[in-house]
């Protein structure tokens, strides 16, 4: 790391004051939480009656818990569709906007609107758009001869929320890619065009390698988001008895912990979720060393 100012005498106390809140957060908010969650995952506790020791029962029972396995499968499928979908589409939009077109900032604002809007409010509109018989989407599709689809039913709910989540995430991705694209010096393209690198070739051999840091960053961020998907799931796929047509892991944690007050099960699932994210992040960093180009 770079140099810095050395605190003198009494200034050391100021340093402590400045860092204090963050250190509390690091100690209790992060480290403490992880430890506490691990401990709670070994207990049977409904928060109302005293906890009893469960050992690893909360983990072993997950293996035969059909609802948990379903949540796992849905979370993985969700990520497999959401992460590439968000990255490819937002990169495409950034590439289009990077052509220095007139009205760039207007487009940027428009593509960003869903990102800043509350998922609950926007989810309400989507539930209206996705309606089986009166919904806008099925109405529009009827013009091209597509029969009505039950978008939020058990068969399609997963893909319908993937669409909404991608729709909501394009703004951030676009801005990050746009910043990455604008950081590429023009001379690279000028030099490249002399060697015949235009169009697809320019993208493949100049643009793509140079924005690998942005792609890498985006992949991590969207993966973390994918594993945490909750809001649209809650608003769009909740069923009459409180389950969901596309229950993700976080939904399962919420339902176990705060509907049924099975804190042990909820914590065990949270630990599994954290481990999955950790594992994926390690994979990404391993890939980063092989694929990402830093200048």
């Amino acid at each position: 790391m770079h140099a810095g100012i050395k605190p003198l005498g009494g200034e050391r106390w100021w340093l402590v004051v400045l860092l204090f809140p963050t250190m509390i957060g690091l100690l209790f908010g992060a480290l403490g939480s992880v430890l506490a969650t691990i401990v709670i995952s070994l207990l049977n506790w409904d928060l109302i009656t005293p906890p009893t020791w469960a050992g690893f029962a909360n983990y072993t029972s997950l293996l035969s818990d059909t609802l948990f396995l379903r949540a796992m499968r849905i979370t993985v499928l969700f990520s497999l569709a959401y992460v590439p979908g968000t990255i490819i589409l937002s990169l495409l939009i950034a590439l289009l906007l990077n052509r220095k077109l007139f009205g760039l900032s207007l487009f940027r604002t428009i593509y960003f609107l869903p990102t800043v809007s509350s998922a609950v409010a926007v989810g309400l509109v989507w539930s209206w758009i996705y309606g089986r018989e009166r919904g806008l989407l099925n109405y529009l599709l009827s013009f091209v001869g597509i029969a009505p689809i039950n978008w939020l039913g058990s068969q399609n709910a997963l893909w319908s929320i993937v669409i909404v989540n991608i729709w909501g995430a394009l703004g951030t991705g676009m801005v990050i890619f746009l910043a990455g694209l604008q950081a590429i010096p023009r001379e690279y393209y000028e030099a490249g065009s002399l060697d015949g690198a235009v169009g697809w070739k320019a993208f493949r051999y100049i643009t793509l390698p140079l924005i690998t840091p942005s792609i890498f960053f985006q992949t991590i961020i969207t993966t973390v988001h994918a594993f945490q998907a909750f809001e649209y799931v809650y608003v769009l796929t909740r069923t009459a008895n409180g389950a969901s047509n596309a229950p993700t892991l976080v939904y399962s944690i919420y339902r176990n912990g705060f509907n049924f007050f099975r804190m042990g099960t909820a914590s065990a699932q949270a630990i599994v979720l954290a481990l999955m994210i950790l594992l994926l992040t390690l994979c990404y960093f391993w890939l980063e060393r092989r694929l990402v180009v830093y200048d």
Binding site: L97, V116, V120, A121, A179
Partner: protein, 290 residues
């Protein structure tokens, strides 16, 4: 290089120009199509909210007649003013907490030389990867122990113990401020706090603004937090939860629901429109520089 080159070049420039024009047109069409998908739901929200309840299933885009009765109905059905005040209180307090603590820590990591600086920073940074769900249960138990369940405190207090993302964002920005400024101030005898308050904070306004919007938006749009900590009680909960309750209680009344949805997205959209430059810079900053 040989003689014919100039001719070839002129030809290729004109064809490049034609290509560029075609490409621009194609890009415009694609972007316009995309824009339609992006704003479509918002336009449909506005359109439905201005229709008479009897016309809610009409597919015409322009309401006929246009009515504002859904908005007045909204205030009759829900304590909307109360919900907005609750949401505002929590969002503002969260924003203040984040700005304060993240600026303090960000300054330390960017400017001050102290032992284990790198290690602590990496430890903090790694918590970005920590899913918030893992802190859910322990935090709940902590606040229960403090007797704060059912109050708004658990929703904003954590903002006062810093945050990896905000600290990272501000540290990155502080690093772009020439270090010579700090050194010069030091030579003039300025204390650490004076450097922080008089040199760094004023210069970091864009990054502070970006973080402010992030925090405000996050708190305003949060669903899981209020759902867990506040009894689903219309007097104490936030607009976001109120709206999701609305969904169960008044479902099927699409015109009123769309009016409610619009009222709840409007404040954040306005905030975004006013400060979008800074906001977008903030995101770009977090994503590109490392």
């Amino acid at each position: 290089m040989t003689k014919p080159i100039p001719i070839v070049q002129t030809r290729s420039t004109s064809s490049i120009k034609a290509n560029k024009l075609l490409g621009d047109i194609a890009s415009y069409l694609l972007l316009l199509f995309g824009s339609l998908i992006m704003v479509g739901p918002f336009l449909w929200m506005i359109s439905t909210s201005l229709k008479l309840p009897a016309d809610q299933f009409s597919r015409s885009f322009i309401p006929d007649p246009i009515t504002f009765s859904n908005y007045t109905r909204l205030w009759e059905l829900l304590p909307f003013t109360r919900l907005i005040i609750n949401s505002l209180t929590i969002s503002v307090l969260s924003t203040v907490g984040q700005l304060l603590t993240c600026a303090m820590a960000g300054f330390c990591f960017a400017v001050i030389d102290f032992p284990y600086r790198r290690l602590l920073f990496l430890a903090l940074l790694s918590t970005v990867m920590l899913p918030p769900q893992i802190t859910l249960v322990p935090n709940f138990i902590l606040f229960r122990w403090l007797g704060l369940i059912g109050t708004q405190v658990p929703l904003w207090l954590p903002a006062f113990w810093g945050g990896a993302f905000g600290t990272f964002l501000l540290r990155q920005y502080f690093l772009t401020i020439p270090f010579e400024l700090a050194e010069a101030a030091r030579i003039d005898g300025a204390s650490l706090m004076a450097i922080f308050l008089r040199v760094y904070l004023p210069l970091a306004q864009p990054a502070l603004a970006a973080l402010a919007i992030f925090s405000f938006m996050g708190a305003w749009n949060d669903l899981l937090g209020p759902l867990i900590y506040l009894p689903t009680d219309l007097e104490r909960t936030t607009l976001t939860v109120g709206l999701s309750l609305f969904q169960t209680q008044y479902s099927g009344r699409w015109t009123v629901m769309m009016a409610g949805a619009l009222v709840s997205v409007l404040p954040v959209i306005l905030l975004f429109l006013v400060a979008q430059r800074r906001f977008i810079e903030g995101i770009a900053l977090s994503g590109v520089k490392r």
